[in-house]
């Protein structure tokens, strides 16, 4: 009896020992990932946050200057213009989602060669943005572009789509939609396939036509996928940089000053003007903006997204 009493006392102690070893091993196993995460994500984030309150020369340590960077940024008309450009671009690119739904539904109807269509739509996604931007620059060239040539055939006078600040954001949006279509199609296509076919069969017995089915079955059941795609598209649209850089970034494009996006401002500050602290501030402000927009979207989803 007595020995039985003593053993439970000893056991927990041994178990702690074993437990600690398991912890150690577990930590050792995930260490590569953990260190990578800390070094590549956590530390840069903390460092960016700190730098946003500093004046940082391109090389060497920075000096804290309080909220100077933030006041400078928020009182800079260029920032508000860039924010406006970015917001307009985001709204325009979201038009790509209904487009993707329609294409996804159409591809779903295709009986043979569905994969071929998916690949074709996905090609722009895996093409280098720089190459995409260059090709569209040729297409949209005001004097020699294909688009203006086609327009001239039907008697519409062309414009300088990528050299006139009135049109540049729209030009970016067209390319942005085209580039994003592939990813959206894959996600929405998967969503479509998960909708049970019995629902369509049952509703056609009740006399529902295709259009009614689309609005009463497809859309509601697809809404979680649509929501997901909307969040992704919004976030990536707010971070748009490559199209401005490639389509307008050449020397002396006079549309550039009025066509900048927020991330372009960031690039300009960090890599052209050598102001890392100010660039960090832009990054943090963009992060806050994206967080607010995403939070609003999550709030609004309750009104239109149906789960089950």
């Amino acid at each position: 009896m007595t020995s039985n009493v003593s053993s439970p006392v000893g056991r927990p102690r041994r178990r702690t020992g074993l437990g600690a070893r398991t912890d150690w091993w577990a930590l050792a196993m995930i260490a590569p990932a953990l260190i990578g995460l800390a070094a590549l994500y956590l530390w840069p984030f903390v460092s960016t946050f700190l730098k946003s309150f500093m004046n940082v020369p391109v090389f060497g340590p920075g000096k804290f200057n309080g909220v100077d960077n933030y006041t400078k940024l928020l009182t800079d008309p260029e920032f508000w213009q860039a924010l406006g450009n970015t917001a307009l671009y985001t709204v325009l690119v979201l038009i790509g989602i209904p487009l993707a739904i329609v294409f996804a539904a159409l591809i779903q109807q295709v009986s043979r060669g569905r994969a071929v269509y998916r690949v074709l739509f996905f090609l722009p996604v895996v093409t280098l943005p720089v190459a995409v931007g260059m090709v569209w620059r040729f297409i949209l060239n005001g004097d020699f572009g294909i688009l203006n040539f086609v327009l001239s055939l039907v008697g519409i006078p062309g414009e300088y789509w990528v050299a006139d600040a009135r049109f540049t954001i729209y030009a970016f949006a067209v390319v942005g939609i085209w580039m994003g279509l592939g990813v959206n199609l894959i996600i929405l296509g998967a969503g479509l396939q998960s909708i049970p076919t019995e629902l369509y069969e049952a509703s056609s017995l009740d006399g529902a036509n295709r259009v009614q089915q689309f609005f009463s079955i497809t859309l509601p059941l697809l809404s979680p996928s649509i929501f997901f795609v909307t969040i992704l598209t919004t976030i990536s649209a707010f971070q748009m940089f490559d199209l401005v850089f490639v389509m307008l970034g050449s020397v002396n494009n006079t549309a550039l000053p009025d066509s900048k996006t927020i991330v372009y401002l960031f690039y300009d500050a960090a890599f052209v003007q050598f102001k890392q602290g100010f660039a960090a501030t832009i990054a943090i402000v963009l992060l806050v903006i994206i967080m607010i927009v995403t939070a609003i979207q999550f709030r609004l989803q309750k009104r239109w997204v149906t789960y089950d």
């Binding site: 930590l27 260190i35 020369p57 090389f59 060239n141 020699f144 550039l256 102001k275």
Partner: protein, 421 residues
């Protein structure tokens, strides 16, 4: 336990930082074979640079030079992150408007002693280019690789078609403007000239020709709003108003140099660096000639040049310094000159450059221009204030505001940048 992990992580990180420790070029050369990297932006010069690297290796079998090419748009961001992270090339190309943060930030190897020891005579290089890189700290951070001055490239066929006389060597602003007007033929899609908002090949030259300056002598304030400088800007806005140039939008879509090669522009004010590209265009070649810049109140051209510099964080400082001196030296200059890609900075090698393009008979104007050349203004954070030119000058070019008002607004913006140091 967590502290241990943190310590381990910190150790990993600090190893990376230690490699960025500064070194001096005075360290002895390694006897083991070493490889150093040479960073440059991609373009027509690559074959010549490879030939220079090979020639250096032949002379120094122990040292291999590997070219590291980056496309121009990524060159500066790549170099900046490379230098901050300790992975920049051992030797690389530098531009005057970008050198300051690198020099003052301790990223460039001090070559003063190495150059003195090797007996390099700085008088062999254009003083204006050396001045551009002088940080006023008595240290030498690099050696000039090439230089460029500006002149007027013109298309003889378009002059003939319009019945306009070729530019005379002593022509004036009025002659230029009149010729531009006479050469413009909207029906044929031909413009007399191109007037992009281009500081180095364009309006800085005319500002100096009008007796103005871009930045004041003490480097602390802008001078671009002085009456003389405004005259220099007006030279271009007048040409735009005359309709003698494509619009800024057209020049944004298709660069002026491309339009010149397409035979749409008769006169293109720009640098010597286009010579080889135009020479290689065989259809265009017989029609191309070059004239000195027209004279305003006086003759003037801005000049600049690339320097070869070495990275302070290099593991092979002695070898890097040696290569800088070689790549800017007489033998490398000859290789560059023979390729025709660029005008070498080393004195006495320009004839070889001209001989590389025998059908261009007037290239001498680029060398003669050194007599009246002024250094490109690069005071303060030059990359920042030069980058703002389109924000302030576009309206004047489009005729929406006067040259004086645009210059005044731009000067205020430049002053803010200069005040930040």
């Amino acid at each position: 336990m967590h502290k241990k992990w943190l310590a381990a992580a910190a150790a990993v990180v600090s190893v990376g930082m230690l490699t960025a420790c500064s070194t001096t070029a005075a360290e002895p050369e390694s006897t083991e074979p070493v490889t150093i990297t040479y960073g440059l932006w991609a373009g027509t010069q690559t074959p010549a640079m490879q030939a220079i690297a090979d020639a250096f290796h032949e002379e120094n079998p122990n040292i291999t030079v590997e070219l590291q090419e980056l496309p121009w748009p990524q060159y500066w961001s790549g170099l900046q992150t490379g230098a901050a992270g300790g992975t920049a090339p051992d030797v690389f190309w530098m531009l005057a408007q970008n050198v300051r943060p690198y020099a003052t930030g301790g990223q460039l190897l001090d070559l003063t002693d190495a150059v003195a020891e090797a007996g390099v005579d700085l008088a062999d290089y254009p003083q204006a280019v050396l001045d551009l890189y002088d940080q006023g700290d008595g240290k030498l951070y690099g050696l000039p690789k090439d230089f460029d001055t500006n002149a007027v490239w013109y298309n003889k066929a378009l002059f003939d078609a319009a019945g306009v006389d070729y530019p005379a060597a002593d022509w004036t602003w009025e002659d230029f403007r009149a010729a531009a007007k006479a050469l413009t033929n909207p029906a044929a899609g031909v413009w007399g000239t191109a007037a992009p908002i281009d500081y180095q090949g364009g309006y800085y030259n005319t500002i100096f020709q009008a007796g103005g300056q871009v930045i004041s002598d003490d480097g602390k304030t802008a001078a671009i709003d002085s009456p003389e400088a405004i005259e220099g800007i007006k030279f271009w806005t007048d040409i735009m108003a005359d309709g003698s140039s494509p619009t800024l939008q057209q020049l944004s879509d298709t660069e002026a140099e491309t339009q010149f090669e397409q035979g749409k522009i008769a006169m293109y004010m720009s640098g010597a660096y286009w010579a080889l590209k135009m020479y290689q265009n065989e259809e265009l070649r017989p029609n191309v000639d070059v004239a000195p810049l027209p004279t305003g109140k006086k003759q003037a051209t801005v000049t600049s040049g690339i320097e070869n510099v070495a990275y302070a964080g290099t593991k092979h400082p002695a070898e890097a310094a040696k290569f800088v001196m070689f790549a800017s030296g007489p033998e490398a200059a000859k290789i560059q000159a023979e390729s025709g890609a660029v005008l070498p900075a080393f004195k006495g090698t320009s004839q070889t450059w001209m001989d590389a393009m025998p059908e261009f008979t007037n290239l001498q104007v680029f060398i003669d221009a050194l007599d009246y050349a002024v250094p490109l203004p690069v005071q303060g954070n030059a990359a920042e204030w030069q980058g703002m030119q389109a924000d302030y000058l576009t309206a004047a070019w489009n005729g929406e505001t006067s040259a004086a008002d645009a210059a005044k607004a731009y000067a205020e913006a430049i002053n803010k940048v200069l005040a930040e140091g």
